[in-house]
C-alpha cells in the first residue's frame, strides 16, 4: 500500500515539474539551446514517470483512487478556492497521454526546430503548455480548470504565432485566442452560475467537483437549482467546449492554427488541448447527465462537426489542413459520443486519436521538414525518398480510417454502437463520416506518397531524433485498442456488434476505394466531379463561408460600426459637445462680462463709490 508523502509528492511533481521547466528556461538563459531543450524534456519525462508510477500502483491495487491533494489558493470567509490535484482513473489516463505523447513530441521538436532562432522561447512555451494542460487534467475544481483552460489558450496563441514575423501566423494566433475568448465568455458565465447555485448559503458556495457532485441531487430537490437553470448552465459550459474543442460554429480557428510549427499542431491542436473540451465533458459528466436537453444538443453539435469538417478535408490541398479538418471531425465524434451518454467511449476515442493523430501530424511535419512543402499537389512519390515517414504515416492513416485491428477501429466502433443504440440519424451521419474519413486519408496518401515525385522536389529522410517518436507512436496506434482503456475507466467494452462493424467497414471500403479510383487509378477525373457539383465544390472550397461571415462581422460590424460609433460618440458628443461645450460656455460668459472692464479709472471709482453707498444704505436698513 502506498500512501501519504510519496503519493502527494508524485502528484505535485506530476503537475508542477513542467512549470519549473518553463520558469527555468528563461531564468537560466534563453540563448542556451541544449539546456533549454533538456530542461523542457526533463520537465515532462519526470511527470511521465510519476504518472506511470501512480498507474502501476493503481493496477497493482496498492493505491486507492481517487486521491486528492490540495493547498488553499484563495481563502476568505466566503470564498475558498483550493488549488489541487485530483487523481482518478480518468485524470490519470489523460495525464499519461499528455506527458507520454507530449514527451515524444518534445523530443521530436529538438530535431524539427533545430535551426530556429526562437528555440528556447519555443521550449518555454511548450513547457508552460504542458503545465497548463496538466492543470486542466488534474484540477479538482472548476476554477482551477478554468485557469488551465485560459493558460492553454495563451500557450496556443504564443505557439501558433511562434513565427510572428509571418503575418498569417500572427493573425492565426490572434484568431485562435479571440475565438476561444468568445467561447470562454459562455464558459465563465456557466461556472459563475454553477457557483451561485451551489448552495443557498453564500458562505458555503463551492466549485469543487466532488462536493458539487454530491450536492447536486439535493440542490435539484430543494429547488434552489431549478432544472431550467441546470440546462442553461450546462449549455453555457458547453460553450467553452465549442471554443476549445473547435466545434461548429466556433471551429474556424483550428485550420488557421496550422500556421504554427508542426509539433505544436501535433501536441496542442491534435492530441491534447483541443481534446480538453471532451475531457472536461467526461470529467463533469454528472452535471450533464441530469439535463438530457443539453446532452442532446452536445450530440448534435458533435455529429454535425464530424460530418461537415470531414467533407472539408476532401477538397483541401494543404496536408496539415487536411489533418486539421480530420481532427475537427474526430473531435466531433468524441463530442457526439459524450452527448449520446458514452463518456467512456468519448474518452477512449480521445486516447486512440491522440496516438494516431499525433503520429500523422509528426509524419506530416517530417514531410515538411524534408521537402519544405506542404501542399499535397506539389508532393508525390515520398514513399521511396522518405520510407520511415511514409510507413508511419500509413499506419496513422489506417488507424484514422478505422482499419480493423488498429486502435481507431475499436474506439470508433464503440461510438458507432452507441449511436446505433440511441439515435438512428446520428448513427448514419457517423457511418458516412467514416466513409469520408477513409476517402480523404486515402487521397492524401495517394497524392503525396505514391506516384511520381514532381520535378525539383528534393526530399530527404528526417534525422533519427524525429523518426524515433514516429515509431513509438506507430506502435501505440497499433496496440491502442488492446490496452483495456475502457475497462480502466470502469466500463468494459460492450459486446462486438457485427452489423455496426460491417456497415462501417463497408463505408470505409467505399470511401477508400473511390479515392483510390480517383487519385491513384485516375479512372474518374476529380475536376469532372468538381464541375458537375459546382455549387457543392464552391461551398466546400470556401469552407461553408464561415470565415467570410466572421471576417465581415469583425471588420465591418464590430470594428467599424460598433467601435467606430462609440469612438465618434466619444469624440464629438462627450469631448466635443459636453466637455468642450462647457468650456465654450465658460469662455462665452467671460467674453460677456469683460465688457465691464473699460480701462477708465474714473469709471471704476464711480462704480466703487456707488457700491459703497449701496452698502451703507443696506447697512442702515438692517
Amino acid at each position: 500500500m502506498v500512501t501519504g508523502f510519496p503519493v502527494a509528492l508524485a502528484a505535485w511533481t506530476l503537475l508542477l515539474a513542467p512549470l519549473a521547466a518553463a520558469a527555468g528556461i528563461p531564468l537560466l538563459g534563453l540563448h542556451r539551446k541544449r539546456l533549454s531543450a533538456s530542461l523542457a524534456i526533463g520537465g515532462l519525462l519526470v511527470p511521465f514517470a510519476c504518472a506511470c508510477w501512480l498507474l502501476l500502483h493503481t493496477l497493482q491495487g496498492s493505491l486507492h483512487l481517487p486521491l486528492e491533494v490540495k493547498v488553499s489558493w484563495l481563502l476568505l470567509p466566503d470564498l475558498a478556492i483550493p488549488f489541487g490535484v485530483l487523481i482518478d482513473p480518468l485524470s490519470l489516463l489523460m495525464s499519461l497521454i499528455v506527458t507520454g505523447v507530449g514527451s515524444a513530441i518534445f523530443i521530436y521538436s529538438t530535431g524539427y526546430m533545430a535551426h530556429d532562432s526562437g528555440y528556447s522561447r519555443y521550449f518555454t512555451m511548450l513547457s508552460l503548455f504542458a503545465f497548463s494542460m496538466l492543470t486542466i487534467v488534474l484540477a479538482n475544481n472548476w476554477l482551477e480548470l478554468f485557469i488551465g483552460w485560459e493558460l492553454v489558450g495563451f500557450c496556443s496563441y504564443a505557439l501558433i504565432g511562434h513565427w510572428f514575423e509571418k503575418p498569417q501566423a500572427a493573425d492565426a494566433g490572434k484568431k485562435a485566442f479571440l475565438v476561444n475568448r468568445v467561447a470562454d465568455f459562455g464558459f465563465m458565465l456557466g461556472i459563475l452560475a454553477l457557483w451561485a447555485h451551489s448552495s443557498p448559503l453564500a458562505a458555503e458556495r463551492t466549485l469543487n467537483y466532488q462536493l458539487l457532485q454530491t450536492r447536486l441531487p439535493s440542490l435539484l430537490q430543494s429547488g434552489w437549482l431549478s432544472h431550467e437553470t441546470l440546462v442553461l448552465t450546462g449549455l453555457l459550459i458547453f460553450c467553452g467546449v465549442l471554443g476549445k474543442s473547435a466545434q461548429m460554429p466556433l471551429h474556424v480557428w483550428l485550420p488557421d492554427a496550422m500556421e504554427g510549427p508542426t509539433p505544436v499542431s501535433a501536441l496542442i491542436h491534435a492530441a491534447t488541448m483541443v481534446a480538453a473540451g471532451v475531457y472536461m465533458l467526461c470529467r463533469n459528466f454528472w452535471l450533464f447527465q441530469g439535463a438530457p436537453a443539453v446532452l442532446e444538443t452536445i450530440a448534435w453539435v458533435g455529429g454535425a462537426t464530424a460530418f461537415f469538417s470531414a467533407a472539408l478535408a476532401v477538397v483541401e490541398p494543404d496536408l496539415k489542413r487536411i489533418l486539421a479538418y480530420s481532427t475537427l471531425s474526430q473531435l466531433g465524434y468524441m463530442v457526439m459520443a459524450v452527448g449520446l451518454g458514452g463518456h467512456v467511449a468519448g474518452m477512449y476515442h480521445l486516447t486512440t486519436h491522440a496516438f494516431f493523430k499525433a503520429l500523422l501530424f509528426l509524419a506530416a511535419g517530417s514531410v515538411i521538414h524534408g521537402t519544405r512543402r506542404q501542399n499535397i499537389r506539389e508532393l508525390g512519390g515520398l514513399r521511396r525518398s522518405m520510407p520511415w515517414t511514409s510507413a508511419t504515416f500509413f499506419i496513422g492513416a489506417l488507424a484514422l480510417c478505422g482499419f480493423p485491428a488498429l486502435s481507431g477501429f475499436f474506439s470508433k466502433d464503440e461510438i458507432l454502437v452507441l449511436a446505433h443504440e440511441h439515435n438512428a440519424l446520428l448513427y448514419w451521419i457517423g457511418s458516412v463520416t467514416a466513409g469520408l474519413t477513409a476517402f480523404y486519408a486515402t487521397r492524401a496518401w495517394c497524392v503525396a506518397f505514391l506516384g511520381q515525385a514532381p520535378e525539383h522536389l528534393h526530399a530527404h529522410e528526417s534525422p533519427p531524433v524525429m523518426l524515433i517518436p514516429l515509431v513509438l507512436l506507430s506502435v501505440l496506434s497499433i496496440v491502442g485498442g488492446y490496452l483495456g482503456i475502457p475497462a480502466f475507466l470502469g466500463e468494459p467494452a460492450g459486446a462486438f456488434h457485427w452489423d455496426v462493424a460491417a456497415t462501417s467497414l463497408a463505408a470505409i471500403a467505399t470511401g477508400a476505394g473511390l479515392a483510390w479510383l480517383i487519385y491513384r487509378r485516375k479512372a474518374i477525373a476529380a475536376e469532372a466531379i468538381a464541375r458537375r457539383c459546382a455549387w457543392l465544390h464552391r461551398l466546400l472550397v470556401n469552407r461553408y463561408f464561415f470565415d467570410d461571415v466572421y471576417t465581415w462581422y469583425v471588420e465591418q460590424v464590430q470594428q467599424r460600426l460598433i467601435a467606430g460609433a462609440c469612438a465618434l460618440f466619444e469624440r464629438f458628443i462627450i469631448i466635443g459637445l459636453a466637455v468642450n461645450g462647457l468650456a465654450w460656455l465658460t469662455q462665452l460668459a467671460g467674453r460677456a462680462i469683460r465688457r465691464v472692464q473699460t480701462g477708465r479709472v474714473q469709471g471704476y471709482v464711480l462704480g466703487f463709490c456707488c457700491g459703497i453707498i449701496a452698502l451703507l444704505y443696506l447697512a442702515g436698513r438692517f
Binding site: S72, W73, L74, L75, L76, P77, D78, L79, L143, F146, I147, E150, L151, F154, Y157, A158, G161, F164, E165, P167, A170, D171, K174, F177, L178, R181, V182, D184, F185, M188, L189, L192, W195, A196, A202, Q558, Q559, I562, A563, G564, C566, A567, E570, I574, I575, A578, V579, A583
Partner: protein, 518 residues
Amino acid sequence: MPTVVPVLAVLLLAPALGAVLLCAVPASRADWARRIAVAATSVSLALAVWIVFDYDRATGGYQYEVLIPWVRPLGIGFHLGVDGMSAVLVLLHALCSFTGVLISYAIKERVKEYYIFYLLLITGVFGVFTSLDLFFFYFFYEMAVIPMYPLIGIWGSDVKEHGVVRFSKEYAAMKLTIYLTAGAVLALTGLLWLYVSSGAGTFDVVALQHHLSAFPLDARRQAMIFPLLAVGFGVIAPLWPFHSWSPIGHAAAPSAVSMLHAGVLMKLGSYAIIRLAMGLLPDGAVMWLPWVAALCTMNIIYGGLVAMAQKDLKLIIGYSSSSHMGYVLLGIAALTPLALDGAVLLMFAHGLMTALAFALVGHVYDETHTRYLPELGGLGKSLPFIATCGVIAAMASSSLPGFGNFVAELLVILGSWDRYPLQAILAVLGIVITSVYMLRMVRGTFFGTLPQTFTHAQDAQTFFARLPYLVLVAVLLLVGCWPRPLIRLIDVSARPFISTFAHPEAIRMATTTSSQPR
C-alpha cells in the same frame, strides 16, 4: 521600529526631501538628479514593502499612526495611518514611482526640474494614501494634480494622426489640470459641507467617523453630500462620463508620468470614494451606489469599445484604463467584502499592468518616434525583450490567470454577482473586449513584418534598463500566482468596512419614514 521611527512620515517625506535636495543640485548634473530621485523612491519602496509585511493582520485597523495637531480651533491635524487597503495602495505607488523614476532615465532635457516635479507628484500621492485628515487629504490631492501641468506641458508629446497633430501637449496639460481641479473643488465643497453639518468640529477622518457612527447624519443630508464626493472624486477615478480627461492626458504625458497617472493617480479617486465618501456617508452610499454600478458598466463596455477604435498606442491603453477602472468601481458599488477585496486588488494589479504598458509604449516611442498603430509593426524582431513584456502586459490586461488582474476581476465579478447580475455578466463580456483590443495592439506593434525604418530600434539591453519592467512583471506574476497574502491583508480592513453598511432596504425604509423633520 514603529515606536522609534515614524515609518509613514519617513515614507512620505523621503520623496519630498529628495525634491528639496534636488533644488540645490546644479542643473548641469543630470546624473546627480537621477541618483537622488532613485534614492528617495527606493527608501519609500523599502518602507512600503516593510509595511505590507509587518502590518499586524490580527489587529487590523489603522496602524503606524502619526498625529501632530496643527490648527486646533478648526480640528486640523497632521494625521497619518494606513489600514490593509491603503497599505496595498502605498505599495502600488511605491512600486510605480520607483520604476517610474528608472523609466525617466529616458528624459534628457531639464532633468533636474523634471525630477523636482516628479518627486512632488510622488509625495502628493503618498500623502493621499496615508492621510487621515480631510485637510491634508485635500492638500496632498491637489499636490498630486498640479505637478501634472508642467510635467505634461514641458516634457510631454503631441498626439498625432498620420503625422498631423490632433492635439498638442499644452492643450492636454491645460485640459487635464482644469478638469481634475474642477472635480477636486466639487469634492471640497462636499467635504466642507460634511465638516460643517457633522458638528464634530474636526477634520480628522477617524474622529469624524467615530462621531458620525454615534450621531449619524440625516439620511437625506447624506444623500445630498454623497454625489458631490462621488462625482468630485469620480472625475479622477474616472467615472463615466467624466473620463475624457484621462486618455488625452495619458497620450500627451511623458511615459513615466503616464505610468503614475494611470497606475496610481486614477486610484486616488476610487480610494477617496471608499475612504471618505463611503466611510463617512454610509447611508448616502447605499442610496447612490446603484447609480455608480450602472455608470461603471458604461466604463467597462463603452471604454473598451472606444479603445478598440483607437490607433494611438497610448490612447488605446488610456481608454483601456478607464474601462478597467469600471471593474474597480463595480467592486466598490457591490458592497460585498468579496467585491471590495477584488476592487482594491484590481487597483493594485491594474496599476502595475498599466504602468508596465505605458513604460513599454514609451520605449517603443523613443525608438521609433511614432505611436501610431498603422505605422508600427514587426518590432518583436528588433525588440524581443520589450515585445515579450508587451505580450505579458496585454495578457495581464485581458486577465489571463497567473496575473493579479485575473484574481481581482474574478473577485469583483463573484462579489457583485448577487446584487448586480447584469453588470457582472457585462463585466465578463468586458474581458472579451479587452482581449480584442489588446491583441490587436500587440499584433500591430510587435508582430508581422518589420518595416525598414525600424531595423535600428534598440532593445532594452542592460540589466538596469530592464529592471523596471522585470520588477513590474515579477510582482504581477507573484500576486497572480499566490494571491492569498495580499488578499488577506486587504480583507482584514475591507470586511469590517463593508459590515458597517446597512442593508439597502433598511435605508429606503428610513428615508421614507423620516420625511418629517427631526
